[in-house]
Structure formats: C-alpha cells, structure tokens
C-alpha cells in the first residue's frame, strides 16, 4: 500500500515517550488544591434490607468533612441501557437494600485517605438479612427471592434470534452433536484501578469529573441521570487511562460519590478504589452456561446450529445485556450457517454484576464452536483445517435480518496459517498437539441502547496559520493506541506529518461526542469522523491551490508529504504551508475548520464491518500432571488495511495474552456471593515468561466502510486463543474440555476420561 505516506507504516505511539518517562498524567496521579479523599462503605451481605444508617460517630471524627448515604443523593436511576428505563436499575448509593457483597451504602470525604477509611468503621448500618440467590436457574424460579422488586422472576433480559428452518436443517444433517460449555468470570485486572476526581463549582452549579473511563460521554450521561443534572453542566475529562479491557464503560460509584461529596463540601473530592475493591466491585466478564447443537453433512458442510445460553448477570444491568446479545451473534460466525437459532437469558443474582471483558461474547461462543468443529471433523474423518475452509464466511455473506459481511479474508487467513504450520511445525514431539481456531470480530456496534441522538463519532480539525493542526476528538485511548491512530488518519488525509498534529482528546466540553472505546469501534467510527473532518479542510486547501495554479482544466489534486499538487503532474504544486496561509487570508482571517461525523447506515443490526482471522496453537501437554505449555502461536489476521502495523501487533499480542488468561488460569470462584481471590496473589494472570512465541501475518483486505479500508484489531484475537489451545490439547490427547479454565486437574481428568473411551487421537 505504497500510495500512503503515513498509513501502514509502523509508528510508535504518539504518547509513548510521555508514558515511559512518567510525564503522562493519569487520574490516579491527579490532585487539586484543597482536595478531599473519599472512601465507600460497602455491604458485607449479598442481600439485605437497610433498616437504618447512623453516620453521627463518623462525622465527629477529626478530619472528616462529609458523610453521605443514599438519602443525601439526588436518587436518580441510571444505567447504560437508557433506552429501556426498567433496565436503569442503579443509584449512586443503595437506597433501600443491598444486592451484592460490595454494594455501596455510604461515602465519606476526609482530609486523608486514612481518615476516610477509619471513618467507615464508625458508620453503623442496621440490616435485615434477606434470602439470597446465586445461580441463574434458581433465580428465575417463581419462589426465588426478588432482587429488584419491580422485576419478577429476576429475569433481566432475554434474546431470541432465528433464521432458516433449524429443525429441518438438523433433520437433513448426517451428523449431529450436542455439547454443553460452562464459563466463569474474568476480572479486567487493569493496572490503573477505578478512580475519579470531581470538582463542583457552587457558584455556577457546574461539575467537572476526571475519571479513568473508557467513555467520557457515557460517564457524562450516567452522572446526568443519577445526579439529575443537565448533561451540559457536567464536564468529563479522561486523562491517560491505565487499561480498561471492557470494565470501565459504566458509570461507577467512584465518580458518582466523588461528585456528590464535592457538591456537599464545596471542595474537590477524589475516590480511588483499592485492589480488593477493583477485584470485587468492578465489572467483569459474564459467567455463562451454553448448550450447543451442530448439524453437518458427511462432507463437513454445516446444516444447522442451535445455541441456548444462560448468563449470570449479578445484581445490576449495566452492559450485561450486550453480552447476551453479542454471544448470540458471535455463535453464528465465522462460518456459514443456513439455519440458526439462539435463545439467551440473563438473570439477576446476588453477586457483583457481570458485563464485559475484551472480546466478550466472541470468546465464549468461539470456544464452543471451535471445539465442536474439531470434534465433528474427527468423527467425520475430515482434516480440521479443511472443515473450516469448507464453511468459512466469504465476502458478501448475509445472516438474514442480522448482519452482512463486507470484506472477508478468512479463507486467505486459513491458507496462510495452514502453510506456515506445515512449513514450521514439522515433527511434533510426543504429547504435543496443534489446534486451530478461526475468528471474527466486529468494528464497533450498531447499538443505540444508550439512546443518544448524536452521531456515534464526531471530530473537529482546526488548521492554524503556521500549518499546525489541532485535532479534537472524544475517542478514548485506554492504552490501545487510539491516539496514535487518530493522529495518523488526520495526518494522512491532510498530507502533513504526525508532528504537525496536536491532539485534544476525550473532553466532553471541547470535543464532539464519541461513544467511547468498546467493541473495537474507535478506528472504524472515530477514524471515519476524523477523516471526514480533515477532508473538509483539505477541500478548502485544494480549492485555493487550484485557483492559484490557474489551470484551464479541472485536474485532480493530492495533498501529501506537506505539498498540494496535481495528481498527474506532482511537480506542479505548492507547499502545504503556503496554501494554508493563502486559504486563511481568503477565509477572512479565520482558521480553517473541518467537522466530521460517522454513524453506520444500512449495515444491519450489529456492526458496519467484520475482521477475520485464523490461529494455530502448538501445545505440549504433560500427561502425568495435566500441565499445559503453550509453545508457539501462528495467527493470520484480516484487519483490512492496518493503519499502524506496530499497533496491530501490540493489540494481537495483548489479545493472545488476555485469551490465554481466560483459557488457562483466570477465574473468580465465589462462596455465597463472596469472591474468594481478590488480590494478585490469588488471582492468577499469565506472566510474560508464560507467553509463547507469536508469528503474526496480516492478510490485507480493503473494507469500503473503514477509514482507508481499515477494520478492527483490538479484540478479535482473544477468542481463538483459548479455543485453539483447547483444540491442541484435544489433538494431542483426545481430551474434550468444555469449560475454561484449562487448569492441570481439569486437563488431567479430561485425559483420563478420553483414555477410558478410546486411544489418543492423531
């Protein structure tokens, strides 16, 4: 793709030097003059009615400036699914009862964190304990305790998708198999904990909140609903963020209570979660119980697929229904399925609520689908790569009434991985196996559950007299490289250098709305908005250049490498800087401003484009103790036109790391609603030395919907990682494993089961 001067060139993060030198400021680093420190009192019970709260002793403690309970808050209900008021089921503090261990019941602001923590011990809460329920299928029974009084049977949301004739599809299948998969929770384990700093200006009634968030706009809306304030009176600023991974989309008690405490004291208030709160009281991946049925012809052609899903929602809604929706969608990709049925249910339980972690829905659905594909291939005597190639989605594929596929390089990815495996992994050692998994991922979501009238992304470009560019965008860089991609897209479109762009990111007061960093949407949606904004300015520059050149024929112009010139005769043109000066003079002295926006149109109900890929994992299994060593991974990835190949590599490697964590070791066991491993001593993540060698191949496609043809790269590679590892174990030992995590005892038991049934496969 040599036509680009910036796009496609490996580029170091624009904020990298600031981050590694310590210059970058995170919310965690921030202080304001006269600032107070807040802490939250949390429920020790999974389900209880609040009889009374006595804060008088805490208020007497020296250094305590304010203590609040639910009664001191405006009492607005909030949630991310704002389109459905009944799903906005949260309040700033518990009003009448607590619904999980960790529900916030009171908050303190004091002159130090230590005093605030001490004050929590002096708050006396009288509870009436209520029966609690922890399992979804128990929760929906008619006689189960009600978690929300206005939601009978604790059924939060259901989802049904169906196309084709599923029953007929199974009838016409030569081979049908049914499997059940059980998945647990996964913490985001972000380096930066949830934390917010709020400053309320009593004279104007305006609030400013700095927060470690994935979406300043969603936080602005959440604060607006909960505090019953106008959106425009709330300014949310997102400084640098130390990781989100799906856990920082919602408005959380840190920002809400910092705001209320600031209103009450007239001083800035900061609330920082400790690591235990981060593990027990922040959003995490949803636990699922998934039954899947797959029907194929003898030659491996998929005839029908059916999925039944129950998710454990925990105490509140937040982004949880999206997990239910997306799992049903992802269970229908990346293979062609003529007949498909999905039924899902999300139930409230008395646990910390569960929503999203990177690649949510895709990881769980992919694990099941890819396991079934391998098992079916084995039973039908088909090569695992062939069965995938036979069914792989192709450009133009449509899932009736749901989504369509634009560009699709899946077949090329399969070919590439197969070729490299054959070249590289000749002669597997004993107890080694190679497992395959294909994948797909959306490029943002076409969902408006937040109920915004705004475009999904907006951007503004201002070009100054010296040619420097101010780029205003609300896109959220949470460590994934969006700032760099934003600058690259703007620079490419204007034909200037990265060093010419000054980025003004993620401030609701100064930037057009963007929905935030979720579903791998920023490159596609924000990128399109930036490109449009830059193109608007470029159009002005070209008009001026055309007039100046005074050609008698209308030729095409290009803006590239800081020049604006005739496309067919590049030597005929002008310096970008000279044209900018002329254009501003001609514009009555005004800076040149371009505005862009993006909302997908006519792209179905899910996403404007899909990324695809194929992965192979080479794994060694210790049959004696069940230990699994992931030795190497080969992945071929179709993310359209990579904007920043260095960033893509980083995202794929990060996705593999997170996918290995979900697959191998990350889990949150609980006892009657209490999470049992709330520290990094007990919550095991994959370490650097556990990571395999990764060979990445980018398969170039061009998606007409994406900026410069780009698609996602931030989440897709999570899903195939655990799936390909499990399939490698299956290929090495015959062990069928139907749940994460692939811990030694589980692998060992599965190997023993397989040995009882038949000799080891292949």
């Amino acid at each position: 793709m040599s036509e680009y001067s910036i796009i496609g060139k490996p580029t170091k993060n624009v904020d990298g030097p600031a981050k590694v030198s310590g210059e970058a400021v995170y919310t965690f680093d921030m202080t304001l003059p006269n600032m107070l420190y807040g802490k939250l009192l949390r429920s020790p019970y999974p389900h209880a009615r609040i009889i009374s709260i006595d804060t008088s002793e805490a208020e007497k403690l020296q250094g305590v400036k304010a203590v609040i309970t639910g009664k001191d808050t405006p009492g607005g209900r909030y949630g991310l699914w704002r389109r459905f008021p009944e799903l906005c089921d949260q309040t700033t503090l518990a009003m009448d009862k607590v619904r999980f261990i960790g529900d916030a019941v009171a908050a303190v602001a004091a002159v130090s964190t230590e005093i605030a923590e001490q004050a929590l011990d002096f708050i006396n809460v009288e509870y009436e304990l209520l029966p609690a329920v922890f399992e979804p299928l128990e929760a929906i029974k008619d006689d189960a305790p009600l978690i929300h009084d206005d939601c009978s049977n604790n059924i939060n949301i259901t989802r049904h998708v169906e196309w084709g004739d599923v029953d007929e599809g199974f009838k016409n299948s030569d081979y049908v198999r049914e499997d059940r998969f059980i998945y647990g929770n996964q913490a985001t384990a972000s380096t930066e904990v949830h934390n917010s700093l709020a400053s309320y200006e009593k004279s104007t009634g305006r609030l400013t909140v700095w927060s470690s968030t994935q979406s300043p706009y969603y936080l602005q809306l959440g604060l607006s609903d909960a505090l019953k304030m106008r959106e425009g009176d709330i300014r949310v600023i997102k400084p640098h963020v130390g990781g989100g991974f799906g856990g920082k989309n919602s408005t959380m008690p840190d920002s809400l209570n910092a705001a209320v405490l600031s209103m009450k004291t007239g001083r800035p208030v900061k609330i920082v979660y400790n690591r235990e709160e981060e593990f027990t009281c922040t959003e995490r991946r949803t636990a699922m119980n998934m039954a899947v049925k797959l029907g194929l012809k003898k030659d491996g052609t998929i005839m029908a697929r059916e999925v039944k899903l129950i998710t454990d929602g925990g105490a509140y809604t937040a982004l949880g229904p999206t997990a239910l929706y997306l799992t049903g969608t992802y269970a229908s990709l990346p293979y062609k399925i003529p007949n498909y049925r999905y039924d899902g249910l999300r139930a409230y339980t008395n646990k910390m609520w569960a929503t999203s972690v990177r690649s949510f829905g895709a990881t769980e659905a992919g694990f099941a689908f890819e396991a079934q594909m391998d098992r079916a291939a084995h039973d039908l005597g088909i090569d695992p790569i062939e069965i995938r190639r036979k069914n792989a989605m192709t450009p133009g594929y449509e899932a009736p009434g749901q989504y369509s596929v634009g560009s699709c390089g899946l077949s090329e990815c399969i070919d590439k991985v197969e070729k490299r495996v054959k070249e590289k992994w000749t002669g597997l050692a004993e107890d080694e196996g190679v497992g395959y998994a294909c994948f797909d991922y959306q490029c943002g979501g076409i969902f408006n559950w937040i109920d915004t009238p705004y475009a999904f992304s907006g951007a503004m470009v201002k070009v100054n007299i010296d040619g420097t560019v101010d780029l205003f965008t609300q896109a959220s860089d949470i460590g994934q490289g969006t700032n760099t991609v934003s600058v690259m897209i703007c620079a490419e479109e204007l034909g200037v250098g990265i060093e010419d762009i000054r980025l003004h990111p993620a401030d609701t007061a100064t930037t057009p709305v963007d929905l935030g960093a979720w579903a791998s949407r920023e490159t596609m949606m924000n990128g399109n908005a930036i490109k449009e904004a830059a193109a608007e300015v470029k159009k002005i520059l070209i008009r001026v250049a055309r007039l100046k050149l005074a050609e008698n024929i209308v030729y095409d112009f290009e803006a590239k490498n800081k020049r604006i010139y005739l496309a067919i005769r590049p030597e005929r043109g002008f310096s970008y800087y000279d044209i900018v000066k002329d254009a501003i003079k001609e514009n009555d002295g005004q800076a040149l401003i371009g505005i862009g926006h993006y909302t997908p149109h006519r792209k179905g109900m899910v996403t404007p484009a899909w990324a695809f890929g194929c992965m192979a994992s080479r794994v060694k299994v210790d049959r004696e103790i069940g230990h699994v060593k992931v030795k190497e991974i080969i992945v071929a990835h179709d993310c359209g036109q990579p904007i920043n190949p260095l960033g893509v590599r980083g995202q794929v490697e990060g996705s593999i790391h997170l996918g290995m964590g979900w697959g191998l070791c990350e889990e949150q066991p609980n006892d009657n609603g209490m999470i049992l491993n709330p520290s990094f001593a007990d919550y095991k993540v994959v370490r650097t030395r556990d990571m395999p060698q990764i060979e990445l191949h980018e398969v170039l496609t061009y998606d007409p919907e994406g900026p410069f043809g780009a698609k996602e790269s931030a989440e897709g590679a999570v899903a195939p990682t655990p799936a390909s590892i499990a399939n490698a174990i299956y290929q090495a030992t015959g062990a069928e494993i139907n749940s994460n995590t692939l811990k030694p005892e589980k692998v060992l038991n599965a190997i023993r089961e397989a040995e009882k049934k038949k000799p080891a496969k292949r």
Partner: protein
Amino acid sequence: MADTNYRCPCCRKISPDPHDLARHYLGQTDTKHKEWLKTKGHSYAQLITWQVTEFGNKGYDALAEVLEKEAPRVEA
C-alpha cells in the same frame, strides 16, 4: 385464519400467528407480561426455562397454545 391477527394480552403488539406472538411475549421481561401468565395458570419462568435450556422451541410452542386460546383476535 389468514385474515385474523392475534393481539398480545399485555401490550399493543399484534402478530399474524400465535407462535410469532409467543416470541414477542417471552422477549418481554416486564412484570405485566410475567403476571398475566400466572392468571392463566402458567409460569413465565417455566416457559422461558424450557426455551433457554432445551433444544427446539418448546417454550414458544407451549406459550403459543395458551395464546391461541386466550389472546384477543383482531382483524388483519
């Protein structure tokens, strides 16, 4: 009957056949929809449990039978 539609007993939804209406009905999680079934001697929880735990459309089929009998008819 080709010229008869079924109206949801709890809201304004109109469907051409009881199976389609059953899909709508089990997709509604508000109390009104759940409670109406109780008055007819059925359990929303039981129907949805069938639908999300057993392959096929057992929950919809059972509910469609109820709606066939109980849902008001409107002319197409």
